[in-house]
Amino acid sequence: MVLSGLPLAQLLMIAGGAASVTVLLYILKLRRRAVPVPFARIWDTAFRDQKATELFSKLRRLLSLLFQLALLALLIFALGDPKPKQSLLEGRHLVVLVDGSASMKAIDVKPSRIEAAKAEVKKLVRGLGSADRALIVQMGALPSPLSTMSSDVTELDPAIELLSASDTRADLDRGLSFAIDSLRGLPKAEIVVVSDGVLGDVTTIASHLDLGNTSLKFMPIGKSGTNVAISEFSVRRYPLDKSRSEVMLEVANTNDRPAQVELTLLGDGAIIDVSRFALGPNERLPRYYQDLAGASRTLEAKIRFADGRADDLPADDHAYALMPERHRARVLVISKGNTYLEAALLLDEYLDVTTVLPGKPLPSEHFDVAILDGVADALPETVAAALYLNPPEGGVPLKLGARLSDFGFDTWDKKSPILRFLALGDVQVADGRALTPSPSDRVIGASDQGPILVTGARAGHPFVALGFDPRNSDWVLRVAWPLFVLNTINAFVEEDTSYVSSYRTGEVWRVPAPSSADSATVTDPRGAQHVVPVKEGRAVYLGEEAGFYKLSAGSGVDAVSSEFAANLSDLAESRITPQAELSLGQKKAGPVAIGAPGSKHELWVYLLAIVLGLSLIEWITYHRRVTV
């Protein structure tokens, strides 16, 4: 027998103090309460024989004191948490990996797989032996330990209650690595995986993970899996008509039977499209929605069976996306007057154009783009980018070359965003100047006489330079002219280039944030706020829940707030048919043997039960006046 609780010396000190207090209280208890009676002589008559039993009465009081001291001794012994010496040495050490992936939200078992898993883990904990210790770990995108390695049910139970399923895939590889590390050096090590078996491809895990003597057990959860899912969802605005958008999504039927489904699209919370169609067994069906109007910010997709039934996994029936926010680009035009340029700028209602005559003082506000028409004024730092049209000698950020005449675009970079959708092959130009680019500049348009369209950057400010006056060509009469102007502005504003309409849960997201901020606050779909670091202009966050998020960074005038969306988008998680077995290559997980509840033989529990029993007897005998 060893004491695993308080040490013996401390117990003896407590016993000494408590016994002294008990004896003192007992002496105080022996002071009888005074009660008046109307006529003591009658009491004498009634109690004249009590003196004969006085000795026995004193003895009974002594017995009562001894009784109290015995109770005290038992309680203090229980404080010491006595255990059989042998049991301390031979206990099992378990790491219980509970699948917290999206598939555990399935409701084929009531109320859900994760709740069923919690119930099973509770049974497992209650069936542990007195020397067994367990560690509860939630296995999501990252393993999260929820308790210490403990045998205390009062610590393990709250940890089990904390278990929850997220909208991510469970990473069994990481979970097992964590479990192996936790069990290293401990005897009788066991890993218990509590899961529905929807863990992706696990066959390769055994090749790089050495379980050693650690035994692997599997506790299957779930009984069926009827599911349809939205497995992909993204949206983008049309570059030339940002009021319209196109949506790409993919729906999947993960069952072996065909299904009639109803797909609903919601723009800014209002229904904008409802369609019904059939999905074959295990079919994945991509769908495109073109020229979609009616949504300016949020877009959601919902799928369900056409007959109104819900499937077993609601988590993948709802997808979210955010369209890029349309910025009003500020454009500074320095020109003596150019009808074709002004007409091109009128085509986009999201342009805020300010026109200044050459040589006049420039406004001090911030401008996204400056268009310098035949001039080369020095631009202030508040101008982010510049488009030079027919620049004069000495002002342009690059040197001018030879004079050109009767030329056109013989080569141009069709992949450049500035020249996309443009047909420049038959543009005729009367005269102009060849441009001399720096080594870091890029020629995106040239005639056989020399470069005429160059892009590059100076002091962090990008520019595009055109070597001729467009009015000296027929370009301004073509559709390609306004497209060129608007493409250039779009390329400078960079509205579309890095936009992500929705992130994927379970991955580390890098959300654009002000580069000046060190940290940002992410508000998840449930309203919880998380402070995340900002690295190189990106807020880094591992999201585990589908829905709309908000990000805010900076403070005061520099405060920036933006939104983004996240989706499960994981077909593997949508295939929720539970697996009865778990095999890591050649290694197969064994079944879990759950002990009978209460098999955790804690001696102090019995000591406490004895104390309670004795107290009950003492209480009864006191009220029956046996021990007083």
Binding site: L30, R32, R33, A34, V35, P36, V37, P38, F39, A40, R41, I42, W43, D44, T45, A46, F47, Q50, S57, R625, V628
Partner: protein, 310 residues
Amino acid sequence: MGLLDLFRRDRAPRAKRRERVLFDDEFQRKLEMLALVSRRVFAGRLRAERRSKKKGSGIEFADHRDYVAGDDFRSVDWNVYQRFGKLLVRLYEEEEDLSIYLIVDCSSSMGFGDKKKFDQARRLCAALAYVGLANLDRVTIVGVNESLMSRMPTTRGKGRIFKVFEFLSQLEPAGTTDLEAALKTFVAQHKRRGLAVLFSDLYDPAGFEAGINVLRFNKFEPYVVELVDPAEARPSLKGDVRIYDCETGEERELTITDGMLDKMQRAVSDYRAGIERFCAQKQVPYFPADVDTPFDELVLRVFRRGGFLR
């Protein structure tokens, strides 16, 4: 405010209301119909409604005697003269008043608990006093403990009942019980013999017998009304206690159990049986007055059934 305040007319309205309830007209009329029964004939002082040893001007025929010069001619029995030729004068019984002494035990034991015994004694005393006053008897009330504590002067006529209430309301239980000493003082101060009604719980450490005997030996006609509180026979006590006599302060350490309480109940019964036996042997009328029995029921039924009132 004492419980006897309930009988007082000139006090607060609430007291008046209670007075009407507890000592209402109906009860008052019934009391007027009653009279205390005296088995012996005592010499009275004033003319009243009680038979006395004197011959006089009553209406009840008593005897004849020879006519002597100076006798009232109207009292000559002419029927006897017609038959026997002798002049005899009719003698009638003289009706005098009766002295009634109401002795209230005012020791601490009477006030034990919620003064239930003391209040019941005061109520009964007031009722009997009213009966006596209504019959033109001479009523005297005394309070006793270890001595004669207080005394209401002898009074007569039912108009004096409020004096009685006033006196009773001023009594408070205090001191120890010594009936013998107190009643010796009583008999020394009251030479005119009569009915002596003792209201007491008879918790006398020296023995109740001596006190009653003082009345007997001094030719009073004693009546004993024992105030009984059933709660005293089985108090709600358990465990280790130190009891002390509320009068003498004597202490005893006891451990009380249910068995002990049964014994206590038997002891109280034995004590009361002893009182009853003594009174029966000495031909002293004895009436137990339970505090839980309404006092009007005690007066109208129990005392009448026991021959105390008629």
